[in-house]
């Protein structure tokens, strides 16, 4: 099998297209590169969807955490505490077991039967956990940024007669985003890293359709040689991280474009938010 044939057979294996059987002997470098790269599709899917959906929830929770009424503030506090205070690994296990408790036949609501079996599959169940998890971490970041908006900015808004929703939309929110962005970049990077946990934490890889680390682990188990597949997976992730930094850096520049260059916040990589 030439390398080109391998690529056409396995490039979308993680989604269930192409060759059904995974290679069992005579492992080539090309197979390892192709399959691990194929698994990376799942990491990108989990990371991207959770990040985008989590962004909106995080904004809402950060706002709820600043609310004066304890009926709004306390639930937000607890949500953040539970998801930031416990390991993501345990959250995955817990969610999987909880989702399995849903009735097998589906829930009967009025005349419609809602299927439940799909919730225990990784694409839905694990994504849901990642979504809530990143929302909690990001909400904490956004909350910190909301608190550190310069007092003068808000006073200036008041002086101009901007208040309520307009004040939030035009003054508070953009400044919050600008202040939070470097930390949020870190959060995004480590969210993508933590997507590798999905297939090691209870969620089964249906028909051996897994993520990059799942295939890397498969090869390492079969060949007893960790020195090839894991560096390949690591290489893919370094590429992914670089792409993320590029994209987030571009947004960061846009958020800071009105400021003199020495006042712009630089993105610094800090391992502060891995779970």
């Amino acid at each position: 099998m030439t390398c080109w044939e391998t690529i056409s057979a396995y490039a979308f294996r993680s989604l269930g297209y192409g060759q059904r059987l995974l290679p069992r002997s005579d492992f080539t470098l090309c197979q390892q590169f192709t399959l691990i790269g194929s698994g990376l599709i799942w990491n990108i899917y989990f990371g991207l969807v959770a990040l985008v959906a989590g962004f909106f929830l995080a904004n809402a929770i950060a706002l709820a955490k600043t609310a004066r009424s304890p009926w709004v503030r306390k639930p937000a506090d607890w949500f953040i505490f539970i998801f930031r205070g416990s390991p993501l690994f345990i959250q995955f296990f817990l969610a999987y077991e909880a989702l399995q408790m849903l009735p097998r036949a589906g829930i009967n609501m009025l005349w419609i039967t809602i299927e439940t079996s799909w919730t225990t599959r990784a694409w839905a169940g694990a994504l849901f956990v990642l979504f809530l998890n990143t929302a909690a971490y990001s909400a904490e970041i956004f909350h910190g940024a909301l608190k550190s908006i310069p007092k003068g900015d808000l006073e200036a808004a008041d002086a101009y007669g901007i208040s309520g929703w307009a004040k939030f939309r035009r003054i508070q929110w953009p400044t919050m985003l600008r202040l939070a962005w470097p930390a949020y970049t870190n959060e995004a990077i480590f969210l993508f890293h933590s997507t590798t946990l999905v297939y090691f934490s209870g969620f089964p890889a249906f028909q051996q359709r897994g993520d990059a680390l799942y295939y890397a682990n498969y090869f390492a188990d079969k060949t007893f040689n960790p020195f090839v597949p894991y560096p390949i997976a690591a290489g893919y992730f370094i590429l992914l991280t670089l792409l993320l930094i590029l994209a987030f850096g571009a947004i960061n520049r846009r958020l800071n474009q009105h400021l003199p260059s020495n006042m712009a916040r630089k993105i610094r990589l800090r391992p502060q938010v891995i779970r």
């Binding site: 296990f93 077991e97 680390l213 992730f237 391992p271 891995i274």
Partner: protein, 293 residues
Amino acid sequence: MFAYCADPNSLEGLAWLACYLTTGKHMGLYWSFGTVLSLLAITAPVALAFGFVGAMAARSPFLPARIIGKGYTAMVRGVPDIVFFLFFVIALDQGVEWLNHQIRCPDWTEPIRQGLEFRVCPEAKVPLGTSPQYVHQIYGFGLAVVTFSLVFGAFAANVLYGAMQAVPRAQLETAEAYGMSHGQVFRRILVPQMWVYALPGLSNLWMILIKATPLLFLLGVQDIVYWARELGGAKTSAYEYPHPDWRLYYFLFLLVFYLGFTRISEIVLDRLTARLSRGQATAAGEAMRKAGI
């Protein structure tokens, strides 16, 4: 454990629960909390030492040491930590066996990597195939500790390197002006002052370390996750204590354990930060001075 537990089938209610929660297997679960805590107790100082050496190397004027140090600190930035966990456990195991093989069987002619197998001479197996079960378990735990220390050492090196850079340059220059050598400046001025800058990062790292302990399960150690899965699974009436699938409750218990652990750590570390900030030339120290504490 209790005398009345002799016949589980006749028990009901609380008595049943008391007996159920004190079976031998549950003792395994309770002991595994000790495993997790001892992992934390060993890993934290060792990782700190690795981090210290790494940060020192990254600052060294000697180029190869600097490259190694910088490489070590950069290692964890782009790659998921779980890749390292999975990698190091096998790589370390094979490395130890390979070294042992070179020492014990120098006249072994067959290649070590035969196709898909990693084969060393029987005497070089670590631990020996004939050794009892607990030796295997301790060896597995030891590998996990080294792996955790290596990965978290890299995180700590990041933090300590940043802290060393954060010590005001003027302090070091003053020390040099007094005629201290490089080593003296490092020992007497830099190291004592860097801790207050390192503490926020290190306390963060401690939280991350706590939350990374369930990954022991992936390294093949019988930790709390292993026991929660083992004990929680549905037990048919062939078992002494039959019950349906209770894994949800076991994991809920683990979740509460971790929440409590991180919360207590947070409180303790906050106090420590306040204690160390006293009289320091940092924002926190200045705020305390103004408040008159």
